[in-house]
């Protein structure tokens, strides 16, 4: 028993939220170790290599770009908490993004990191709605996120201010796509966070994508004294009198910790807590079940031998598309719903003079059905990927300037595609639910008194939300308790 390693804090998962939580507790002198089952850090915002090329998963862009002179927003506040200088991230701003609706994207609202551009677009296309839109934007600006706030339907709040159904759908589209675990609606608190993140502050990206962000977090964590064990998942917990007293690793080794922060997701953490072998004390409340999320995606990636600008795709950084005037943000019946999605062209950030990504890249993300992918025999799985790759690409290209089929094929040097099955395999998130469960747990408490939840299912989304979540949970449950 005495040989078991003991930590003040054990963190499960080296994703962005786990790393942020780790930095906080390590910085204030706690002995901490992060246990990660995968061989690469990053969780839902990670990367992989195929044929010598590195591909990002998850991250299209870092949201909440802090403009010079503006009041410190969420990104600056979290970097303060982590003692990371914003320059270390090397963020480069987007060119422009669009919300494009209709069979050819005829209804289009452009936005940049300057909110007045978007406001102007709304005024131009929906002149009768601009006053309501401004009121809504004011409401978002004044909104303060609270862990205790009850659920309020974002759609109902939007509808109170926006009388045009098309504009309602166009406003909800990018925010649902970039972070709603709920189908066709979201909590207004989440809506406000994402509205600020995407529309008020906007997009940026480091030249090398997600890797430098992870590198900065890992360096900071190590420098603060944190330990990390990769390819070393946590298989189960051992509990006693309502507390976790040990963690059993995949290898069978046991470690002990005063506090456990789990970043692996709500349902996944619930399963781990249920694995705790000792019976719950008499009178303990039965554990509420945490539903597994239904929202997941496929993403196609095309690597091009030239800059997208040479094909006429040099303007758009990100395009949120939907080919009709109603968005179906829900689990599709088919394996994929190609009618709507997100296009990302990583080349179209302003990296500065002489800084050009060596290859062109086009990424397209569409809603998908986990069950349609989960248990296919390998051969069928591969064939279905090929089939849907074509469907997704063809659908998305309707929203970009026309490029001849043969020309695009000639320019394409490599392709790849990930599915909900890939997400589940590499992140451990049940059903590949990228945004987690529709039921969030803002307080981060679990049935075990010293086990807390951070990350996607604590309720803050995106790479900025993930870091904020790790910080908030570390502050609230570990550091404040002294």
């Amino acid at each position: 028993m005495n040989t078991r390693a003991h930590y003040d804090v054990a963190i499960i998962g080296a994703g962005v939220s786990g790393l942020a939580a780790g930095i906080r507790v390590a910085h204030f002198g706690r002995r901490v170790c992060i246990f990660e089952r995968h061989n690469a850090p990053g969780g839902l915002n990670s990367f992989y290599s195929i044929g010598g090329r590195k591909f990002d998963v998850g991250l299209h862009a870092v949201t909440n770009y802090p403009r010079a002179g503006a009041r410190p927003g969420p990104l600056i506040r979290l970097l303060r908490q982590l003692r990371i200088d914003r320059d270390q991230l090397g963020l480069c701003e987007q060119r422009q993004s669009r919300i494009a609706f209709g069979p050819r994207g005829e209804e289009s609202l452009r936005f940049t990191n300057d909110f007045t551009v978007f406001e102007g677009e709304v005024a131009r296309r929906f002149p009768a709605q601009i006053d309501g839109f401004r009121t809504l934007a004011q409401l978002v600006r004044g909104h303060r996120y609270s862990q205790e706030a009850p659920f309020v339907s974002a759609r109902e709040v939007v509808r109170r201010h926006i009388g045009d159904r098309l504009l309602e759908e166009m406003l909800l589209c990018p925010l649902l796509m970039y972070g709603s675990a709920m189908e066709n609606d979201m909590d207004f608190g989440q809506f406000a966070l994402l509205f600020e993140a995407v529309l008020l502050e906007g997009f940026a990206r480091p030249f090398d994508g997600v890797r430098p962000v992870l590198r900065v977090l890992l360096d900071r964590y190590r420098e603060a004294g944190g330990e990390r064990r990769m390819k070393c998942g946590v298989r189960s917990l051992v509990s006693e009198a309502g507390r976790a007293v040990a963690l059993v690793l995949d290898s069978g080794e046991e470690v002990t910790a005063d506090h456990v922060i789990s970043s692996i997701g709500g349902p996944e953490t619930a399963a781990l807590v249920a694995s705790a072998s000792a019976p719950e004390p008499a009178g303990a409340a039965p554990q509420a079940s945490v539903p597994v999320g239904r929202i997941t995606f496929v993403e196609t990636v095309s690597v091009l031998d030239r800059q997208p600008a040479e094909l006429g795709w040099g303007d758009d950084t990100i395009v949120f598309f939907n080919d009709s005037d109603r968005l179906a943000y829900e689990r599709p019946e088919a394996q994929v719903d190609p009618r709507s999605g997100v296009i990302c062209i990583p080349n179209n950030f302003e990296y500065g003079p002489g800084r050009i990504l060596p290859e062109g890249m086009l990424r397209v993300t569409c809603l998908a059905n986990y069950d349609g992918w989960a248990r296919l025999p390998e051969e069928t799985y591969r064939a279905d990927k090929r089939k849907w790759f074509e469907v997704v690409q063809r659908s998305a290209r309707r929203f970009l300037p026309r490029v001849d089929e043969a020309k695009l094929a000639a320019a394409t040097v490599a392709t790849d595609m990930f599915t909900p099955r890939t997400v589940e395999k590499f992140t451990g998130h049940f059903s590949g639910a990228i945004y987690g469960s529709a039921v969030k747990n803002p307080g981060g408490v679990t049935p075990l008194a010293n086990v807390y939840l951070c990350g996607t299912d604590q309720g803050m989304l995106g790479i900025v939300g993930a870091m904020l979540s790790g910080i908030a949970i570390a502050n609230q449950h570990v550091l404040r308790k002294g």
Binding site: F28, R71, P72, R80, Q81
Partner: protein, 87 residues
């Protein structure tokens, strides 16, 4: 430790927490919150950095004592000196 040294120690902490704020013009008698953008998380960090760097404990009920540089100096200088006397 003098009150000025104490203020310098507090400013050094704030400079690390909020490197993006200009601290060259901080007026000692005006609330910090009214001069630079510090939120409650930042104040919590000032308290925790005082403990980490200097071993000084500030109970939650007394966070208000850290409102301005002058009040910081009034409140913290005796604590610094008491610690120095002990060691």
């Amino acid at each position: 430790m003098t009150q000025d040294q104490c203020k310098a120690a507090v400013l050094a902490i704030i400079a690390d927490i909020a490197p993006d704020e200009d601290l060259s013009d901080i007026k000692p008698d005006v609330r910090l919150r009214d001069q630079i953008d510090l939120d409650s998380m930042d104040f919590l960090d000032i308290v925790m950095e005082l403990r980490k760097r200097h071993g000084i404990e500030v109970p939650e009920a007394e966070y208000g004592q850290l409102a301005s540089l002058d009040s910081c100096a009034e409140y913290l200088t005796p604590k610094f000196n008491a610690l120095a006397a002990k060691s």
